[in-house]
Each structure stands twice: as C-alpha cells, then as structure tokens.
Symmetry: C2
Subunit: 454 residues, 2 copies
Amino acid sequence: MTNLHFSHALLPDGWAADVRIDVDPSGAIRGVAAGVPADGAVRHRGIAVPGLANLHSHAFQRGMAGLAERRSDAAGNFWGWRDVMYRFLSTLDPDDVAAIAAQAYVEMAESGFTAVAEFHYLHHAPDGTPYADPAEMAAAIGRAAAESGIELTHLPVFYAYGRFGGGPTEAGQRRFVNGPDRFARLLEASRAALRDLPDAVVGIAPHSVRAVTGATLRAVVAAAGDVPVHIHVAEQQKEVDDCVAWCGRRPVDWVHDEAPVDARWCLVHATHVTAGEVTRMAASEAVVGLCPITEGNLGDGLFPVPSFLDQGGRFGVGSDCNVRIDAAEELRLLEYGQRLRDEKRNVVAGAPGRSTGRALYDRALAGGVQAHGRAIGALAPGMRADIVLLDPDHPALVGRSGDQWLDGWVFGGDGRAVRDVWIGGRQVVADGRHLARDAARARFARTVERLADR
Amino acid sequence: MTNLHFSHALLPDGWAADVRIDVDPSGAIRGVAAGVPADGAVRHRGIAVPGLANLHSHAFQRGMAGLAERRSDAAGNFWGWRDVMYRFLSTLDPDDVAAIAAQAYVEMAESGFTAVAEFHYLHHAPDGTPYADPAEMAAAIGRAAAESGIELTHLPVFYAYGRFGGGPTEAGQRRFVNGPDRFARLLEASRAALRDLPDAVVGIAPHSVRAVTGATLRAVVAAAGDVPVHIHVAEQQKEVDDCVAWCGRRPVDWVHDEAPVDARWCLVHATHVTAGEVTRMAASEAVVGLCPITEGNLGDGLFPVPSFLDQGGRFGVGSDCNVRIDAAEELRLLEYGQRLRDEKRNVVAGAPGRSTGRALYDRALAGGVQAHGRAIGALAPGMRADIVLLDPDHPALVGRSGDQWLDGWVFGGDGRAVRDVWIGGRQVVADGRHLARDAARARFARTVERLADR
C-alpha cells in the first residue's frame, strides 16, 4: 500500500491541510484524512489536486505540430489543415503511432492531465486494408498509455461515410473507414487488445454527423452497451451549412433528433450552435468537449459558454490536435476566448465564493470525468489515486493560498508548476519530469526525423 | 571579446548554418560569418535568433498575478481589476518593486525577451509625496534590469489628470501624478539614475488620453527630445465612450489630431478603433503595442490585425500586466485571437514563402525594436548581441528546420524551448535557467509573502 501525505489538498468539500491519502495496491484511494500527521506516510510539501481528465485527443497529430502554420500549404482554413493532416498520417505505421502517442501522453501527464480519451480513427494499413489484427493500432495506443501511465479511455471511431447522408469517403480517409459489421469486430478486438492495460475503458466514437447515418449511428450506439459515446459536432461553419443543405437541420439538432443523447455522451466542439441547440445540449446532460488551443489553432470559433452554463450545461477540455499540450493553458485560453468576445472578465463562474481558476478547474474536472465514465476526479475513497502535486514555490503560486493556487496555475503557470504526479497510485512524474521522459523523447525524435525525410 | 558559434541562426537575409558571431567588449556584434568553422569560438548546438523586444511592461504588476481572478472582487470588468491593482500598489516600497521587477525580468529573459520597455508610473511614496530623489523608483527598476541583464527602455509616465479634459485624479492615483514641471524634474532624475546602466534608454510615456491634455501632451513630448513616446490608447470601450462624450472624437483620432505622432511613437493596445483610425495609425508609422495575454485577461477585445497589416501597419508585443510572462505565448495568443474572431487560419502573413510563426516573429521583432528606438533586433554587425538560442532537441522543434523552428516554438512551445540567452554579449540564461533565477525567486517569494500578510 502507498501512503502519501500532502501539506495541502483539494478535497471534495474544499481545501484542507496536512492530508494523508492511503492508496491500495489496485491504485484506488482507500482512505483520506485531513489535519493529521504523516504517521509513516511519505510527506510531500505542495498542493495536491485531482488530476484533470483530457476528454479529446488525436495522439498521432502531436507528430505534425507546427507543420501546417503557413498559408502556402493552403492551410488558410480548417479544410486545408485537414489535407496536411491526411498527408501526414498516410505513412504512419503502428510503431510510429506508439512513439508519437507516448510523447503526447508523457507531456499530458507532466502538464497535469492524468487521463486521456483517445478519439482513435487511424485503424487500417496505409492502403486501407485492415491489419491482420484489426486492433493493431489500438494496441499501439495501449503501449503508449502503459508507458506513460495515463488512464486511457479508448474510443474506436466509427467512420462509415465521407459526406452527409451516406456519401462516399475520400482516398485520404481510407485508413479510417469501417461499415457497422467491421466496426463491431474492431471494437471487440480493441477491447481484447486493451484488456491487459489496468483500468482502460473502451467506449465508441461515431466520428461526426458527416461520417454516419441516423440508422448506423443508432445501431453502433446500441450495440456498444453502456459506454462513453463521443462525437465531433459543429466545429466549423461549413459543416453546419453542409448539414443544413443536406437535411434542413443543424448538426447538434440532428444528433439530438436521431440518437439517444444522454450523460454518456460527449459532444466535441459544438462551436456553432443556436440558442435552441444550447438548451438541448444542457438538457441532455451530455458533456460539451471544448478544445480551446486546437479551436484557436484551427480558427473554429468560440462556444457560447455563458448561456450554456446558465442552463446547467457541462463542459470538459481536450487537447485534441496536440499542437501544444498544457492543461493550464487549455483552461486559460477557454476563459480568455470568452473574455475577448464578451469584453468582460471572470466569465466562467463556479460555486459562490470560488475564484475563476477554481471554477474552471472544478467544471473541467467534473465534465472530463463524466466524459470518461469512470471513478476518477476526486481525492476521495474509491476513486483512482490520480493526483497532481503543484509546486508551492513556483513563482505563480508562491505566497498564495486556497483558490489562488489554482488561479496562479491556470492564469500564470504551465507544466512547470506541476511537481509530481501519481496515476493509480503510481508516481509517474517526479520533480517535473516524467519517469519515461527521456526514453519517450528519444523515440519521438527518431520518429519525427524519419518522417521529415520521407 | 566573446566569440560564439551556432549550428543554425536567423540572419537578416535568412537562415544560415555554422554561424560565427563575434561580440566586442561593449556588447555589440562586431562580425557575423555563416558557413564557417568555429575556429576558436565557443560552439553551441542550437538555433540562434535575435531576442524579442518586449514593448510594454508594468513590472510591479507581476506581484499581483492571480489576485484578481474572482467575481467577488468586483473584478468582473477592467475597472474592477484596476481597483484591485490600485490597492495592491498602495503599499509597495522601492525594494518591493525592485524584487518584483527582477523576478519579472528574469522570467522575460528565460522566455526569449532580451529587452523591455518599462511603462513606469509608480513614482511617489504611498501618500503621494515625491521621494527625496524623484527617481527612487526608477532606480529600483534599474537595479532589477541590472540584475537580470535585460536591455531597459525606461518610460517615466506623465500622468497629470484623472479624467478627460484635465479632470481631477483619484486617491488611488496619487503615487502617479506630476504636473509638467515636476515631470521634467522626474525625467531628468530618471536619466541620471539610469546613467550607470549600460545601454539603458529613457523615453517618455504620457499615460493615456485621460491623463493629459492636448497642450500638456505636446509640451512633454517636445521637451523630451528625440526619444521613444509610448501612450495607452483605446484599450476599453468605456474609455472610447468617455472620450467621445468629452470631445466628440475617439482616442486614436484625438492623439493624431493633437500630437505629432510618428515612428517614435508606440500606441499601446489601440483595441477599439474605426477603419479610419486604423488607416491613420498605419500612415503615421507608429508601432501598435499589442499585449495579447493581458488583453485576454482584462477582456479588452481584439485589434483588427488584418486591415492594419494590409495598410503596412507595424506592431510589436508587450507583456503588460505580467500575469504570465512568455514570449511565444504572446505571439500564439495574438494569432489565435484573430483566428477565433475571423474563423480563419494563418492570419498574420509575412514576406512571401515565410511561415506564420516566422511572420509573427519578424513583425513583432521589428515593431518591438522600433518602439525601443535603438540598435537591437538583428544578428548583424553594430547591433547589440542579444541572442536567444532555441533547443533543437525540444519536442516542439525536433526534426524541424528553418521557419518550422519558429512555428514549433510559437505554436507548440514556451520558455522551455529557450536554452541559452545572451544580452549585450553576456550570457544570462544557461540551459534554460537564468543565472540570477534562484536569488530573484527567493527575494520575490519573501516579498509576495510579506505583501499577502499586510
């Protein structure tokens, strides 16, 4: 049993000092006591908070970070960026994906994310043929998760069509495509491939309204059972326009009309929504998956956070394209986007008396946990021991207390404020460095250097 | 003489390999040669770029980072934030300011800024009485600059009034206020106080349209001679509305009408501007001082970059309130704000064929240099040897080349991509750590802890 003692910790009922957390061998928290001496537990000076759950990642895209930042690539809009991305992925093999994903997951852990929902669509060989083991790529993701220690919620993507209403896919999408039957086999194989990874959860991800039909969406959701269901929706205005042109309805409305959207669902982006759609999303209890850094990079636009929260809406954050991986910066940019649009300060409010950094953290934590559908996200008995220890001497935190620690990290900090991280009770980051950092970086460097030569 | 050799460098005519830079004892670059062996120079593996000039800082505000991120402080808008700021500064003494500024400047250097324009308005004792030496606070800023090694352009603020048209100041502003005569003495004393700081430049900063009249603005500008002139303008819509209510003109128009705005001027923020004002600013050849992180934090709004650049406008970036200090993040957030508003990608374009990261860097470098009015900002003979060495092994840069290095740093990196920094030929950052980091942090920690107890 691992026993830890922290000078300060954020517990479900608030900040506490001298907190002892006992972790059982399975990685779950057995007991939490505040205001107690270490009594044999290892003492850590610092501020322990529950690790944030990243609810949306395409890990392989970490390898193309910075390669689409020029107009001459026709990357002046989202669709040009997507072309660059399709070219990038066209030659990746499973070892490439494992190397890139391991780097991404190590960076996530170092920045304060202790869980990742991997929205995984790179299924087949470069020519579109399924691998002998349909879960070959899922296994690569599993190896990366194991190396980093991050809690993995793996979401095999159901991608059946290339245009609204069941239109054909493009050549660049051939590595993604499965009909419902082949998807069922992929899902089963993915569950088998990740069986040995402690606490991996396998959900499903119908890719987008464009990639499914109403009937196939309902069928794959029904067949998957009680698991997380993630879907991209309304990220770009063109997607909304195309959807309306096809069926007369907007994507978020369409999903709610066609499928049993509930608290198991994560609606990723949902950038372009009407007031009516905001109300439906809040009422459905689905989580909206906001990806502020990616949405900034791709020029998606800004989600209407205030009206959504006013109606009880739930959100979490995802690192999505992984062009930059930093938990604090996702929260900061989420808030700053709203401030810049509305010309106000402190837009995301929380429970009375809580600061904005705390409100952002509480909400993103709860939303991320819901999107993962598992017992994480609180320093409380029965939860996984996923703990981020903030450095009380970091210049953004020093001299602060309580919610100000989160304000310092979120508005003034980055991964350098994260000193130690435990996931499932196992320490993976010590003194700011992931224990696998050097190995992951070296393999990542070899991989991107080789890809640059192709 | 210091002789340096870099595996790659960004020279005025582009990227070069095996670059030798000879620095004379004054800190100026004597010679630059590309494609040459080290030949006795110290070899550094990495990518050398000219250090960025930060064109707008209020150093003392680094000490209040994270203290105004809650609605209950009435900090729901800029003006409430300003109240928190006024309370914070009300008790600072010169040693406090020196300690906080040293921390800020060390962080600037570690993130890639090698020069800072300090917009300095905290002149007098807490009760508003001038110190026996009017430049007591300027000297504190000078000590911080000396400790960090950063090139200082010190801008004593002329702050005569509290309302448009010469209205009275508030109690919270008493530490700032000088009439023209007392300001002239302050300016002279500031020049004397900074005489021993190598290469410090002293300009002036009429605080804002609100803090001057047309006659006093013209008078202080004329009296100051050929120096940089910085002014806050049109940061908040309320400021524009108040200005129009007072005189029927908007702030940017008013400044151009009343004063000889030219290339010596830096118009800080200029967020709320009409098409006509954009044209006037571009035509005046003044630099617009954009402060993306602060403008996000304060909910100021978004400057119309595309139309300004189309007319040949010039901008640089400033860290302003210093709630977070990071050169790459300023450029990234500048670009992302534009992308989010316009729903496009790669908004800031540069010379043909250059990437967006390069365009942002080139433009912010040129604009920053102009706002400092001195020979910095290029790896070329006669320029100060202000050099930032990027780490080629950083995961955001590895496997990249040329402009992609800047794309990696700007879109995927932060100060951790900065390995070494020389300012005026003197190495101040080695392996990511400022040589004064530990001392500055310790003093900063004591200062903010004591302030928290007040």
